[in-house]
Symmetry: C2
Subunit: 253 residues, 2 copies
């Protein structure tokens, strides 16, 4: 028996790392292995953004009266510029008006009348509740490095960074050979002494769970020439996985 | 905010558990949810099987001389019956000859000449290295219970038990709606103040990782009637997942 660590090391030493690459849609890249470092195409957030529902103000705000001069929703920014004593209604995710120095969250204000607000409860610090442009990551910054397997969070990151395509390694094509005169598949007549080739299907499903592709699976008789033939025929495979023949018996070829 | 536990409990309380079922090939059942208890079709092992390479003997073997009268490979059983003083060469996985009381592993014998073996090192117990018919599981025994998600090991178990088809729940069809005037997908012109709908694609990929099916994903404007329309249109969905509108702002509909 060989320890898993040792087996992996033997495999890595004897493997040519020359898998081809391909460009695929980011949306379809789940589970694939990156063949390049990925840089963001945009700043994120793409603009100074409100982190909360509230009111954007220009001056170093303390308790005081502000005139609400406009409203801006996420996706619908105002053209107006803030000046001292003015406030603009903002919502989470909305682009902050020019001149914004802080956001007062709505929980901390009291409306006096329709167009007036009164900051009542807390002193506000400059920069409060502003998610600055590029706070998460800046344009051209490496956001995911080569060789990483792309997971669901990475998909969100890539889409948010406006990365439309990624270069990934092609899925290794795997040929699966189970050797054993006793092995059969279920739909065949069951000869005496035979057993179902269960590991063939288990390994196929494990391949399907990884970023690989099982291109062929086959039961092979315990015969040196047949095994040799099948190995030679597997020219389209990047990887051949065999089961059986692991001991020192007369049929462990 | 609602805790995950609480959220799950609300969802479960308000869910009709009436997903349809379907019969699928065992080979294709990875990740699916069983809609029935699964019983084995066969005994496993299907016959008394040798657990090792060695020699099957009939008598309570101790140090002694045996005549090797036949050889049996996995998948190629012998018709011969063992009697006292006789041995038959067996290999791992091979069906044991009639009359087998124990297997002497090859490490513990010394061959005297072509047809003779000499048990030299250890006293052998009756039943040694015999994997009895039905040891793992017996025909008609429940081997996997309803509601289990089928993993790779289960595939091996089902194939080994000669279960050709399994009844599973149909994949829940999920409609994904992300509401927000600011949301866009990458191939559209980017209006000021907009951001990429990254969570839409992340959630889609999470759905694809589960035993579910994303049948539709869409960005919806912050408008009560449009949201209502889209919810009404999602008649083919078993589940609707929405994002956005989670706070108390004027556009959190």
């Amino acid at each position: 028996m060989i320890l898993v660590k040792k087996a992996l090391s033997i495999i890595c030493k004897n493997t040519k790392k020359n898998l081809a690459t391909e460009n695929i849609n980011t949306e379809k890249s789940l589970g694939r292995i990156l063949a390049e470092n990925i840089r963001s195409v945009v700043d994120n957030p793409p603009f100074n953004m409100s982190a909360m529902d509230g009111y954007a103000v220009h001056d170093n705000p303390s308790t005081g009266i502000y005139k609400v001069v406009d409203v801006t929703f996420a996706g619908k920014p105002t053209k107006k510029r803030l000046t001292k004593g003015k406030a603009i209604r903002v919502f989470t995710g909305s682009k902050l008006p020019k001149g914004t120095k802080a956001v007062i969250i709505q929980e901390n204000i009291k409306k006096l009348e329709d167009k007036l607000i009164f900051n009542i409860t807390k002193k506000i610090k400059l920069g409060n509740y502003i998610r600055k442009k590029g706070l998460d990551f800046k344009r051209n910054k490496i956001i995911i490095t080569k060789s990483k397997e792309i997971n669901s969070r990475d998909i969100a990151l890539l889409i948010g960074a406006n990365v439309k395509h990624v270069k990934v390694f092609k899925k290794p094509r795997i040929t699966l050979l189970a050797s054993g005169d006793e092995l059969i598949v279920s739909n065949k007549k069951k000869p005496e002494g035979s057993i179902y080739a269960s590991s063939l299907f288990m390994i196929e499903s494990l391949i399907n769970l990884s970023a690989s592709k099982c291109i062929s699976k086959k039961i092979v008789k315990d015969n040196k020439n047949i095994i040799k033939d099948e190995l030679n025929k597997a020219t389209k495979a990047d990887v051949i996985i065999t089961t059986g023949g692991v001991s020192v018996g007369n049929k462990d070829l």
